[in-house]
């Protein structure tokens, strides 16, 4: 199965096929990721959305071998990056890819920096980990250059400061500087703006965009915030209960969602332009991933399912619908459902601008 946009000829930078991640705990197995397939091309921004526990962070961390094992068991694949299956690589080979070819930006820049070392030292370290021939002074100069590139004022002074002397936004900038230190081909940003003020969020997103244009790195943006996705992503994967339920370009996602879960997410966005009595929410809870239901995982909460037996019995495959991919048995009924939910919420949720 391929999710490639037709017409594109360049091979994908990273392709993930049928990835499974299971955590073997004391009380049985938790299937965090259940057969995920996607790919990303150079220069592309792929957004992965989903609520907590949908497997979005786990699937990405498993690619780089960052999950503690035990308890995590990664199976399926291949995960192909530049012709190599990342799941087959040895720790040593993976290490030369981590931080150099594929770099990560973490959610909370406060905790992702060691509090007892200077920011500059940590950025220099990230450079020297991959190339011991770089002299300390050269690494320092490069780090200062990077800090100035991401918009940290007085980078020379800031180089010698500790994380607690940085503000939240500055720390995230420093984090981005560290991530791009080795010119990675792929940047993975795991909820990069969640720990930040709304005012700073926009700036960090803009910075990510600038950085991506300058380095031409592909970016995977993991978030639960559809607003963030709308702003920067080219293509979106919607994940639910460890599976991709919808995969589409950014505009169609907002204009004509192809999965009831996506529709629910869109309807749940608080609107400033409409006077709403109560906010819309998806009823129920995500399923217990140690015992995922046999049918569609979203069926118990789905407004479209209406308890039809096929939803409970059969897990819908991800099928092509126009330019998008959707995992819903009744994808052809989505048009009507969008209209119905729009009526319930009291505004047309397809407005495109969120």
């Amino acid at each position: 199965m391929s999710l490639a946009e037709s017409g594109s000829i360049s091979p994908p930078l990273l392709s993930v096929e049928n990835l499974h991640v299971t955590f073997h705990g004391g009380e049985g197995k938790v299937q965090a990721v259940r057969g995920v397939t996607w790919e990303i091309r150079s220069g592309e921004v792929l957004g992965i959305v989903g609520e907590s526990g949908s497997g979005k962070s786990v699937s990405v961390a498993s690619i780089l071998g960052l999950l503690p094992s035990p308890p995590a068991v990664v199976s399926g694949g291949p995960v192909t990056f530049e012709g190599k299956n990342l799941l087959d690589l040895r720790e040593r080979e993976l290490r030369s890819i981590r931080g150099k070819e594929i770099a990560m930006i973490f959610q909370d820049p406060m905790t992702a920096f060691n509090p007892v070392q200077t920011i500059g030292h940590q950025i220099s370290e990230a450079i020297r980990v991959h190339d011991r021939t770089v002299k300390r002074s050269a690494a320092r100069d490069r780090s200062i250059e990077l800090l100035s590139m991401v918009g940290v004022p007085s980078p020379t002074t800031r180089y010698a400061q500790f994380p607690h002397e940085y503000s939240g936004g500055m720390r995230q900038r420093a984090m981005i500087a560290m991530a791009i230190a080795n010119h990675p081909k792929l940047l993975i940003a795991d909820e990069p703006t969640t720990a930040l003020d709304v005012t700073i969020q926009a700036q960090v997103l803009e910075l990510l965009d600038v950085v991506r244009k300058e380095t031409d790195a592909a970016t995977i943006l993991i978030t639960h915030d559809l607003g963030v996705i709308a702003e920067v992503a080219d293509r979106v994967l919607v994940m639910y209960a460890g599976k991709v339920v919808e995969s589409t370009a950014i505009l169609p996602l907002f204009q004509s969602p192809r999965h009831p879960y996506t529709l629910g997410l869109l309807a749940s966005l608080p609107r400033l332009d409409v006077d709403m009595e109560t906010l819309f929410s998806i009823p129920g809870q995500p399923p217990d991933m140690s015992h995922p239901p046999p049918g569609c995982a979203f069926a118990p909460r789905c407004s479209l399912s209406r308890d039809r037996s096929i939803c409970r019995a059969q897990d819908p495959p991800l099928i092509r619908v126009g330019d998008a991919w959707s995992a819903c048995h009744f994808v052809d009924e989505m048009e009507g459902e969008v209209a119905a939910v729009s009526q319930e919420v009291g505004t047309d949720i397809r407005a495109g601008e969120s």
């Binding site: 290490r95 981590r98 931080g99 905790t111 007892v116 100035s148």
Partner: protein, 322 residues
């Protein structure tokens, strides 16, 4: 307000706006960006040292220990007489201008023996504590970082060592290996490492779960590198405190061994050995200059080390705000 040093890449305005928002609301109140940037970096180590300096008792103790160390190093220059020279005309002589702290049963100058005895005590204290902390750190780091069966094996060994009546085993070992400073250091270190091992393991277990360890892994650091860069630096401060307290214990143990006649070989002076001579009731009752000086020396040295340990613990405690 500020000029960015780097090439103008269209981010200047951004940076300035953000910096002013951030400094105004988040971290530091009422400071302009310039002031924040101009302030010297506050290294955690420097902060701790400043706190330590304010701890008066610890500071006095540290000065005492440094002086004691100097006296021990310069013993041949400082001591009024040869510590082993026998003066048969004055056996058990009370303090006098010739012998400030009197002489012992063999007519040797007590002050000189006290000064030379400091060498043994301090060497044993420092060497045993450092070796014990070294072994404990390596094994504790390994146990805490790798976990699994390695952890289990190391920690069970620790349990076994801690459940021994250490003094009896030490006595036995010294008796077998023959008494010397080296033997004493090795034997004491052998029984003191489990304490530091437990602490290092515990700190490692806590530290390895931090996000910055994951971030270091994500940026390509090897496990060894993470241990060295991130875990070891976090372990250092509690380890310093423990090592200090361990050296006090080592000094006490050495004194006990020497007192029991299993310390350094007889003519060589040591504090515990000097106390050994004070076993009889006649000496205890009538010749206080034979046992008071070494007793006071041991007690005050151990007390000073413990004060320094307390001072260090307070200085490294992140909850302290002084």
């Amino acid at each position: 307000m500020i000029r960015q040093d780097g090439p103008g890449d269209g981010l200047d305005v951004d940076a300035i706006v953000e910096a002013s928002i951030a400094t105004g609301g988040e971290t530091i109140d009422d400071l302009s960006v310039d002031e924040v940037a101009a302030r010297p970096p506050r290294s955690p180590f420097k902060v701790a040292m400043r706190r330590f300096m304010k701890h008066r008792l610890a500071l006095i103790s540290l000065i005492f220990l440094v002086l004691l160390g100097l006296v021990a190093v310069l013993a041949p220059l400082v001591a009024p007489a040869d510590p082993n020279a026998v003066d048969l005309r004055s056996l058990r002589a009370p303090p006098s201008p010739g012998h400030i702290l009197g002489t012992d049963s063999a007519g040797r100058d007590v002050l000189s023996r006290l000064i030379f005895g400091a060498r043994v005590s301090l060497t044993v204290g420092v060497a045993a504590a450092i070796s014990a902390a070294g072994i404990g750190t390596i094994l504790g780091l390994t146990a805490g970082f790798t976990r699994g069966w390695v952890d289990t094996v190391i920690m069970r060994v620790v349990d076994i060592f801690l459940s021994f009546p250490s003094l009896i085993v030490i006595l036995l070992l010294v008796a077998i290996l023959g008494p010397s400073v080296t033997t004493i250091v090795v034997v004491i270190a052998l029984f003191e490492w489990p304490t530091s091992c437990r602490i290092v393991r515990q700190m490692t277990l806590a530290l390895r779960e931090h996000d910055f360890v994951l971030a270091a892994r994500a940026s390509g650091s090897s496990n060894f590198r993470i241990m060295r860069r991130h875990i070891l630096s976090g372990v250092t401060s509690p380890l310093t405190v423990v090592a200090t307290l361990l050296s006090a214990q080592a000094i006490l143990l050495e004194a006990a061994l020497s007192f029991l006649g299993l310390g350094v070989r007889p003519p060589q002076a040591s504090w515990g050995g000097m106390l050994n001579e004070a076993q009889s009731i006649t000496v205890l009752a009538g010749l206080p200059w034979l046992w008071l000086p070494p007793g006071i020396a041991i007690a005050s040295t151990v007390l000073a080390i413990n004060f320094v340990g307390d001072g260090l613990r307070d200085a490294f405690d992140p909850r302290q705000t002084r």
